[in-house]
Symmetry: C2
Subunit: 350 residues, 2 copies
């Protein structure tokens, strides 16, 4: 079983963008009462959007299940207000649920949260509960910067976030720390803002005492942990100078990096320095980089190939591709048990 912990629905039918455009246009009319409205997307459109992209790539690359969430760059929590964000998030999450229901052996859901600048994170609890309890989702994407590149929220280690964390712990779901698009012209979204947020979150965790208060909470820092593995010595040294825990101890049960690193030397470094128990296979497919690397002839984001080029034991392979992800997203067990049941019934064993 090969589980990709990081996939976004970046190929959603255009009805989704049509909805969003109308929602944003309505914001300009102050007399217009916000209404949730409807998505006009058929099951066939969903099938087509997935068959030609994520599902095709799963087959071609030999991956099984993708932990699937709404397009991260489109969350854009900085647009409108909490109601805008709630309606948009509910639609995006419902669409993920439909995709997962149509392809139950290909996708399991992770939700977008209805965050909004200045609005307390507790406001996202209800949607998290709905997604986990009613839609069978197994985690969430938490945006540390709902302002979209202005970084106006308190650090992730601040008590400001605690009510939301309490619900995460209660539901036993992790959060991937994932920013959205940037409305600050300094930050290119996928080339700067995403990677900066990863690095920033790690340093917040390193300097804060969050895991003393929430010993079982789990965060996935995507994109291979931002700059952290490349500067592993810097972070080890900073932790040492500040008398903070050793990095493997800091990360052990609480911080995990995915493998969204799009070249072999980077992946090699990631595996060399970061404890293997804290790395989850992920590809961000279809995501930030869509091209084929002329140096290899393969998609940049076919991260499984880089891992396969490294000398890994069977145990290490199991952890990277399945075991660690089961540990971080325990609710995936229900999904997987359901799949085994249905495969037994249909005889569709792999």
């Amino acid at each position: 079983m090969i589980i990709d912990c990081h996939g976004h629905y970046t190929t959603a039918p255009k009805g989704l963008q049509t909805y969003r455009d109308a929602q944003i246009a309505a914001l300009k009319d102050p007399s217009h009462a916000p209404s949730k409205g409807k998505l006009n997307i058929s099951d066939d459109q969903i099938r087509e959007s997935l068959e030609n992209a994520q599902v095709k790539f799963q087959r071609e690359r030999g991956t099984d299940l993708t932990i699937f969430s709404p397009r991260a760059s489109a969350m854009a929590h900085h647009i409108g207000d909490a109601t805008t964000s709630l309606h948009w998030s509910q639609h995006c999450n419902d669409l993920i649920h439909r995709a997962c229901s149509l392809y139950p052996s290909n996708f399991v859901g992770v939700c977008q949260l209805p965050q909004s600048p200045g609005v307390p994170p507790a406001n996202s609890i209800e949607e998290l509960e709905r997604c986990v309890k009613e839609l069978g989702f197994i985690g969430c994407n938490l945006n540390p910067d709902p302002s979209g590149g202005h970084w106006t929220a308190p650090p992730l280690t601040d008590r400001y976030w605690y009510p939301f964390y309490e619900k995460m712990v209660e539901l036993d779901v992790p959060a991937m720390v994932h920013v959205s698009s940037s409305c600050n012209p300094n930050f290119h979204a996928t080339g700067a803002h995403y990677i900066n947020a990863d690095t920033t979150a790690f340093m917040q965790f390193l300097t804060g005492d969050l895991f003393r208060d929430f010993p079982t909470i789990r965060f996935v820092i995507p994109h291979g942990g931002g700059a952290v593995p490349f500067h592993w010595g810097r972070y080890r040294g900073l932790a040492q100078d500040m008398k903070r825990p050793l990095l493997p101890d800091l990360m052990r049960n609480n911080i995990f990096f995915d493998t969204c690193v799009y070249h072999l030397p980077g992946m090699e470094l990631l595996l060399k320095v970061v404890p293997l128990d804290n790395i989850l296979f992920g590809s961000e497919m279809v995501g930030a980089v869509r091209g084929i690397d002329p140096e290899t002839g393969h998609y940049y984001d076919d991260t499984k190939r880089y891992l396969e080029a490294l000398p890994l034991s069977e145990e290490q392979r199991y952890k990277l591709f399945e075991g660690n992800t089961r540990k971080v997203y325990p609710r995936i067990a229900t999904t997987l048990a359901g799949l085994e049941g249905s495969e037994l019934r249909t005889g569709d064993h792999r």
Copy 2:
């Protein structure tokens, strides 16, 4: 000759902080007319502060000349206004000049700029000219975010910065892109803000057309280029998707990374992916990380050791430790010629 392109006067005598504390205190009194004031620091204090730190480490590590600038985290351009920043910068630069004059074979100066949020970069031209023409400095540190973590200035590729760039080109001096301390609680200075700024600047250069307008301008992105080498495949792929130049072509004459990467696997990756002609030896000593790595028994920031552990040809060594730096900082030739002259006179050859 081994030239360290990245050293800050982080060990300045306490008279410097006394001055700064008084300057900041005076800001709170609106009736107080800002005055430049004086630094109360003796030559002996400067000698002592260097002999026990930078000069000692140069001897121990076998490096020769350090390109030396004021403490980056103390630039704090977000404090006060343009006048505050001008007075502070002039004092810091004068102090660097005194250090360089006392140790002409150990240090050559790079200046801090009197930047201030919302103040046009042209305002820094006069201090740059003073430092280059009167004090013999060979470059500057340019802060892409004078707001200290709020990122309110336009990107480095914006015409906003052009008047300053024109002066850099005229004087033939490069800028190290270097932020200062962060007044945004999200960003730890040396663990997040510095690295994020490096990554951000690279992506700005990648998406902009700055080098079409300034084909000879040169920027050093410190800390090994932030997250860029680790995510080299991501940046190659993003450039490809956006039909931007190949990364070696983008960087060739304009973008250079230093070697402030504090562990061997990171350094190995840097040398593996980034063109060697675009890497300058640097250590950031005495800087962000001050401890000794228990795994090696050596200082984390003794970056020369990592380079020496890699298989480099004589030509590669020359480029990293001297040749590339001569190319990026051409005014260093005057410094070096002066040294050779004095060494010839004193017979103090190495």
